[in-house]
Amino acid sequence: LSSIAGGVDCSVSFISYVLGKVCVHGRQKELLSALLPRLTDLTVSDCIWQRICWQLVEGVPDRWMEAVLLGFVQRAPGADVLSRLLGNLVVKNKKAQFVVTQKVLLLQYGHTTAVLQNLLGYLSLDSLRRALLLQVLQELLETWGSSSAVKHSPVEQQLYISKAILICLSHLKEPEIESCRQELLTSLMEGVKCHLDSSLPPIRRLGMIVAESISAKINTEGPVLKFQYEDDDEARELKSLLVQTPPCCAVPGLADDESEKAPPLGLKGNQESPPAAPVVPDEESDAELDSDDDLVPYDMSEDKEVKTKAPVYIRECLEVLTSSEDVDKWEATVKALEGLVRKNPAATREVSVELAKILLHLEEKTCIEGFVELRQRAQVAVLTTDPIPVAKYLTTQFYSLNYSLRQRMDILDVLVLAAQELSHPKSHGKTKHSGAQNPRVQLLPASGSSKNWRRIVDERIKSKTRRFATGQSQVEPVSAPNEFNSVAGHFFFPLIQNFDRPLTTFDLLGEDHFVLGRLVHTLAVLMYLAVNTVAVTAMGKALLEFVWALRFHTDSYVRQGLLSCVSSILLSVPAERLLEDVTEELLETRCWLRDVVEKDPDADCRRLALQNLMLMENLKKKLAADPS
């Protein structure tokens, strides 16, 4: 380059060739890290250098164009620099256009946000290229809105596409938005629908954020779409992409741009001064005779807040909850119910099924804080006090007509929480398994993510694989009989029985795949908690068959659940029993797991399958090492 600077006349095309060849061979980092900064400096104001640069890049043969282009896009410090370096390359060169508009955005998804910013910013900086920008946006939206893409592409790719859409939106100007408003709206509608249908929370959230942004852009004066979702770092980062910092900033570190949110929040400053400014009471002069002193107050210690009394008997609670018109009493009953149930187990057992029925149908009459949690805890209390009849009732109701999805999921949550309570010893100490850590299992949140359970299973797997390293250094915890033993079957088998019989309002294998996913996760947890129970082998066998029947399900949430089931089975059923009674199913499952590891689009599924394979290997090794 210095030679060119010196004015020596040389063939630019030769340099292009060299550039291309080097990049294709993978050496683009070294070459471009030297080349690009110099080019950047040189092209800042010098038009001739700019033209030379353009010719340089245009001269690269097509077969090496992608490598060169990618290198440029990745290393350029900003969209404007890229614009100076590449000029209108994308318009002139077909291959370049293909790489930039299709390949990088739609077919690959490993690039960083900065790369996306550079690319799309570059497209927006020149009027010739803006047409490409619009085209790119439309294609991105098509992909974003297609339901098969949402279902089958990995979460990372969807995140990438969403980011690209947001950046495109940020570059669009008013007239352009006007022209494509209708298409934006249509794709918005379709896209939102497929995203919200998905069972994975991250995808739902991505859908919500993008939809909000699009609607904000197209309806600047009317009411905009507003969703409720968790506003964590990822969401904030995505929203920050909507705002572009001007290119004259030193380093366009847009990822740190969290403080700029369009529109700026209005100042909440000017509080309306209250129409009555309280006047400070004048100090009574002490000289004034105060005849009030003659009046001696009476004892007022009995004067306390009036609280409605909660009923003390379980049967009274039943009455109040079903038929009482007195809302204060109803509220007091709901709050007191869990405690009463736990204190009066005998009385509860007499009316347990009725109480469970009332609680399942209980709706919020007044606005109590934490109503859902109160109801759930009461249900868990009833279930743990009288497990067998109530479990029977709940599991039959799960498959009955005319329940809402929310109620069915409530049933599953309650079964899991009760099972957890029954299987842990009352001393609330650490687990009964020596050496293994008991990760704290908390009340399942209402949205029911399976993250807790995966974490537990993971830790358990970790502990098992490193068992030879940790000794018996902890004190043996107090052991108590596992109460879940006698009732595990009652919880488990009815749930697994009817999953393939569709009802008019409830079809597990059809539309209600979200509930199916939750059911599968529930079964995994129940299996896990049934370790050391008598029925565990039978449960394991039934569960493996269930998994086998559903293994090709299209919803990745369901597949993750199935893989957790397999983990639970491998962890809970004693190894000898597994190898003796369940051999064929195990071998078939292993083949399936290998398939999943290689071919499943979802990263979590692959990871879980890999863990399961590891567990199986460990089992084999353990049995082989066992001399008996």
Binding site: P274, A277, P278, V279, D292, L295, Y298, E302, D303, V306
Partner: protein, 328 residues
């Protein structure tokens, strides 16, 4: 060591319905018997003889609709009662008669108690809620001519008038009206001009009841929340908040200041009657007798201070009569 609160001196039973309003008439000379008038939800007005503690007469003039205000006009023979049948009745009770002399059809279906003020011998002003939602109408009795109609300005959004108090600084001066409204504000009206002189937002909830001490130009109002608001009237006839007092339980249905301006009583939704010193709002006693909401409290007008009584009427059909702080 404070004494426990006193028990009621006696309890009147027999109304068989919730008691909404009480009025004493004990100022008469012998052989006049001290009387307590009570209005109930079943439409009856009971005339209680305070010597025998029995009902002397029961007046049925409101078609079995609840009576929520009773007042006497000058003597115990002239009674005014207001009921939910949208009528205000004027009774003639002399010599054992029980007839309705006259009535005013208010066309108002609210609960606002009317307020009476004697302006001259035989002439009374009565303020009542009128037919239109936010209006208060002032009539002259017994002629029933309308003196003025007080309309808040358009867009004021005061809501229904909830409680009224007519007063004048001294005999012969301008009568003024204090009205508490549904939006929690108290408005001072000038009757001759028909204009509002001052408005003060005292509560976030409707003003349930108010009372005013014209000597000290201080008033008190209670609403459905926990705070009692004490406000004052300055020389420019402007209302200002003086202080607030927080109660243990929310909800006040009635407030009344004793005629000697030393103490006041509040009737609460928590079934309790509270007594405060008026000068500094010092809590004096909590009278816990009733088992349901106390709807009204009233002080008697005995000439002899030792005989003064406080009566409270409640939803539990009882009227409790107390003798408290009679020594001062």
């Amino acid at each position: 060591m404070a004494l426990p609160p006193p028990d009621p001196q006696f309890v009147l039973r027999g109304t068989s319905a919730a008691v909404h309003t009480l009025h004493f008439n004990c100022g008469g000379q012998e052989p006049d018997v001290p009387i307590l008038f009570s209005g109930s939800e079943n439409g009856f007005i009971h005339v209680w003889n305070l010597k025998t503690h029995r009902v002397d007469t029961a007046l049925d003039g409101h078609g079995r609709r609840s009576v929520y205000c009773v007042e006497t006009m000058g003597s115990k023979d002239r009674l005014l009662s207001q009921g939910r049948d949208q009528r205000i009745c004027l009774w003639d009770l002399a010599e054992g008669r029980t007839s309705v002399m006259d009535s005013v059809f208010t066309e108002n279906v609210g609960f606002c108690r009317c307020s009476l003020l004697k302006v001259a011998q035989g002439r009374w002003l009565m303020a009542m809620a009128a037919k239109a939602l936010e209006e208060v109408q002032v009539l002259e009795l017994p002629s029933k001519t309308s003196v003025c109609t007080l309309k808040p300005e358009v867009g004021a959004k005061l809501g229904m008038p909830m409680c009224l108090k007519l007063w004048q600084l001294s005999g012969g001066s301008q009568p003024l009206l204090l009205a508490g409204y549904e939006d929690g504000s108290v408005v001072l009206w000038n009757l001759s001009m028909g204009k509002a002189l001052s408005q003060l937002v005292c509560h976030p909830e409707p003003v349930m009841s108010l009372d005013f001490d014209s000597e000290k130009a201080k008033g008190i109002s209670g609403s459905s929340e926990k705070v009692l608001s004490i406000w004052s009237l300055n020389e420019q006839q402007n209302l200002q908040v003086y202080r607030t007092h927080e109660l243990v339980n929310p909800g006040i249905s009635d407030i009344t200041i004793r005629p000697d301006k030393k103490i006041l009583a509040t009737a609460g939704w928590d079934h309790r009657i509270r007594i405060f010193g008026w000068k500094k709002m010092k809590p004096l006693a909590v009278l816990d007798f009733h088992t349901a909401i106390v709807h009204c409290v009233s002080f008697s007008d005995h000439k002899n201070p030792r005989e003064r009584l406080l009566a409270a009427g409640s939803k539990d059909h009882r009227i409790s009569v107390w003798s408290i702080y009679t020594q001062t």
